[in-house]
Symmetry: C2
Subunit: 103 residues, 2 copies
């Protein structure tokens, strides 16, 4: 059964990238207790500080979707929305066939 | 010190996606002994079987670059080249700020 990988970016308003990344790092902390979350990495590209990339790996898509129902996560997302420069583009969803560092 | 994340795809010739993915899974096995490799995930997108995605996280870019110098990896890559539908596009390189599942 393939794991679920989601890779995408959130564009912050100019100068708000760092603040957005800190919110997403708090989301990563909250997901420690989420079922099936193997990876929630928060990243930036050199020279593009207001684009914050999130790379996730979950045991299943269902585990990922369930995590978004948590009140804590919903509240945190609501604090991030005002920082965004536009609607999130949604990420690239993939099936993980296997590899190193994937359970 | 930020970890190094690389996310990109290799396009196989039509019908060769599975064969390419198996070579990349062997690369992942070889990287067990590579210095600083935290993640080497091999994935596919629903309905696009000949695009094989690789998502890597390394302690440093240098560790990543060093791994490509290994004779074993070089030989493996040479077996993958004939399966490709074109030149690799190179991936998106990111600095990992932090998150769950990242050391």
């Amino acid at each position: 059964m393939n794991r679920y990988l989601l890779h995408g970016k959130l564009r912050a308003q100019e100068g708000k990238g760092h603040e957005l990344s800190q919110i997403l790092l708090r989301a990563a902390d909250m997901l420690q207790s989420a079922n099936g979350c193997q990876l929630y990495a928060v990243s930036v590209e050199e020279g593009v500080p207001d684009d914050i990339w999130i790379t996730e790996i979950w045991d299943t898509k269902e585990d990922h979707d369930n995590s978004l129902k948590s009140v804590e996560i919903k509240n945190l997302i609501s604090t991030a929305i005002p920082l965004l420069a536009g609607n999130p583009e949604g990420g690239l969803a993939l099936h993980v066939i296997g590899g190193l560092g994937v359970q």
